[in-house]
């Protein structure tokens, strides 16, 4: 289903409001029996979005193919989420593509190599994704077209124990999610 701008704007503001109201008591959590049962019909768009997001992650996790994307990846130094000059150049090129493809929405993924520990790497991947996200915002890309997710060290593209592989894993990946 293709989202219209109005759709996306509404959805984003719902998300933004709910994040901002995080201090308020949560509504009753959903109860799921196993993973095979169907979700009860839901009136909240956020539930649908959560299911779609879950499906999208599952596809990423299950897919054995290389991560194809019209946007180029950026790479990070060990234990760092700083953007190198080369990364900034790539982000500028990616911003150009996004400006030429105004319907595209992108999920920015932060990844790590496995030389850190898993929980810390989840948080580090989030910082990497956020760094790329903020730079693209700075280049004028509307925030409603961008989302971020961390995968920590969980989705490596290679498993060799050498710097060449580790470098390839320390990446920001730009997944176009609505085509």
């Amino acid at each position: 289903m293709k989202y219209s701008r109005l759709h996306v704007g509404w959805l984003t503001s719902v998300l933004a409001v709910s994040l901002g109201l995080s201090a308020c008591p949560k509504r009753t959590p959903q109860t799921l029996v196993g993973s095979g049962s169907s979700m009860p019909p839901s009136s909240s768009r956020m539930d649908e979005s959560a299911i779609e997001a879950g499906d999208r992650v599952q596809d990423r996790v299950q897919s054995e193919e290389p991560e194809a994307s019209p946007l180029e990846q950026i790479y990070f130094d060990f234990d760092s989420f700083a953007l190198s000059a080369e990364a900034e150049q790539i982000l500028q090129m990616n911003a150009e593509w996004l400006k030429n493809n105004t319907d595209a929405k992108v999920e920015i993924e932060g990844h790590c190599d496995n030389r850190g520990t898993a929980a810390y790497n989840l948080a580090l991947g989030a910082k990497r994704a956020k760094a790329a996200h903020d730079y693209l915002i700075g280049l004028g890309i509307p925030s409603e077209r961008l989302s971020t997710i961390t995968y920590g060290e969980e989705l490596p593209v290679c498993n060799e124990l050498n710097e060449s592989c580790w470098q390839r894993n320390r990446r920001g990946h730009f997944q176009v999610i609505n085509r």
């Binding site: 799921l32 993973s35 234990d79 850190g116 810390y120 956020k130």
Partner: protein, 463 residues
């Protein structure tokens, strides 16, 4: 589950009376039925009086020749006999299951050398509970012996198990368990814990479980698994074919808090093991979390605009308090056993280090100052040590006092989790789960599942 256990009368008598051959003890179980005790009684009334004074002052174990075992040593030689079934001599499988579970647990403790069942001379049914032929066991060089019996009525199982000192020819303790047939393994784990208590003074950790995340289904998806400590009964908990990570136990061992991508996120979920139900407790992105010792709160590392901070939530996901407010990474909260402090990992100084926060006041201090990468803290149930992962040419498990000071290496590996008795840890090493004694001298591999087994978590004792 309805387990009740009562000490057999004889063992109670033994412990209470600081028994020795010099005293006339009403032996309901164990010990030779000769006139030797009576002879000795005539001679030994004098000695008995003195011995009572000396003997009762010392601990019970000092009077027997079994030395308190240390991990990594030769181990106390112990024989574990399959249970006898006085009623029908049937159900061999049940008889052997109990013995095998006890034997495996005792082996894992690193404190025993379990004598192979193939060496046993005596058949399980060839004995009466009141008359042990100790020479059948001393000939195998056993110093300790487990023997017992079971009765089965339909689904109702009763097990009586006893621990004997072979050289001194006497019972050191015993237990009776009642429950369902399916609970035989749990009974065995409990008894192994009692054997450790009789011989070391501290109850063992085996009536518990270990949770971990693994991609052993193939590919990159990770599911949550739960196993008994020995790793022989691994049960898959999630079936979401996505990434499920970082399991953490509730204080009763009935629920797991973990991180799942099944709704994008990742988000924190709570899984109830008995019902199989799983619920997301927050729509906020989360990285790790852990339960308070009283079960009333969970500490979770939540995302706030790409930055992670620690929060206190109720187990239903109500936000109670934000704990950290800094721009650095803050993850891996670990509660002190008294529930007043949190150890956690923070990158606020520029690289990840271990910090401790007093929850009420919020006062936070840094604990680790050696090494440039210290993560994954876990607080010992004894309260005196915080174990963590240090990266220094590979991953090592270290421990440090909660007040800081010198850090001590335990062994290679990552993601330490303490046993409920605080004498052991589980960790992962090259994709396998290992159990080590807290001084690192004893190390036993628990899993070999054909995938990457990671982030093990040792549950509290099960009720």
């Amino acid at each position: 589950m309805n387990l009740s256990w009562t000490k057999s009368r004889s063992s109670l008598a033994r412990h209470v009376m600081c028994s020795s051959p010099w005293l006339s003890v009403n032996r309901a179980g164990g010990g030779p039925r000769s006139s030797a005790p009576r002879r000795r009684l005539r001679l030994g009334v004098w000695f008995g009086a003195v011995f009572l004074l000396l003997g009762c002052a010392a601990t019970t174990w000092a009077q027997i020749r079994i030395q308190i075992p240390e991990p990594g040593g030769a181990g106390v030689p112990i024989a574990v006999s399959p249970l006898a079934n006085p009623a029908s001599h049937a159900d061999r499988h049940l008889a052997e299951t109990f013995a095998n579970v006890v034997a495996l647990d005792l082996d894992l403790s690193g404190l025993f050398r379990v004598i192979s069942p193939r060496a046993h001379i005596e058949q399980p049914d060839e004995y009466e509970l009141d008359h042990i032929n100790f020479s059948n066991w001393s000939v195998l060089d056993a110093l300790a012996l487990v023997k017992g019996a079971f009765w089965l009525e339909g689904d109702r199982l009763t097990v009586e198990a006893r621990l004997f000192d072979v050289t001194q020819r006497k019972q050191l303790g015993g237990r009776r368990y009642q429950g369902r047939l399916s609970e035989v393994r749990r009974m065995a784990h409990r008894f192994a814990d009692q054997v450790m208590r009789y011989l070391t003074g501290e109850e063992g950790p085996f009536n518990s479980r270990i949770a971990f995340a693994s991609n052993r289904t193939g590919g990159r998806a990770k599911e949550i698994y739960v196993t008994d400590v020995s790793g022989t009964h691994v049960r898959r908990v999630t079936r979401d074919r996505t990434l499920s990570l970082a399991p953490s136990w509730s204080p009763t061992g009935e629920k797991l808090l973990f991180i799942s991508y099944k709704r994008g996120g990742p988000h924190p979920f709570i899984f109830d093991l008995a019902s199989g139900r799983m619920a997301r407790i927050s729509a906020r992105v989360a990285y790790t979390g852990s339960w308070s010792p009283d079960g009333r709160r969970v500490a979770v590392s939540l995302d706030q605009n790409g930055n992670s901070d620690l929060y206190l939530l109720s187990p239903r996901g109500d936000l109670l308090r934000r704990l950290t407010h800094d721009a650095g990474i803050d993850v891996s909260p670990a509660w002190s056993p008294d529930g007043t402090q949190l150890a956690f990992c923070s990158g606020r100084s520029g690289n990840p280090q271990i910090y401790v926060m007093d929850i009420d006041s919020g006062k936070t201090r840094r604990v680790t100052f050696t090494g440039g990468y210290n993560t994954d803290p876990d607080w010992s149930p004894k309260g005196d040590r915080i174990a963590y992962t240090s990266r220094a040419g590979g991953f090592r498990i270290m421990w440090i006092g909660p007040d800081g000071g010198a850090a001590t290496e335990i062994t290679r590996g990552e993601h330490p989790s303490w046993s409920p008795d605080g004498r052991y840890l589980v960790l992962s090493r090259r994709g396998r789960i290992f159990m080590v004694s807290r001084d690192g001298r004893s190390s036993k591999q628990l899993t070999a599942g054909g995938g990457d087994d990671t982030s093990p978590a040792w549950s509290p004792r099960l009720s």
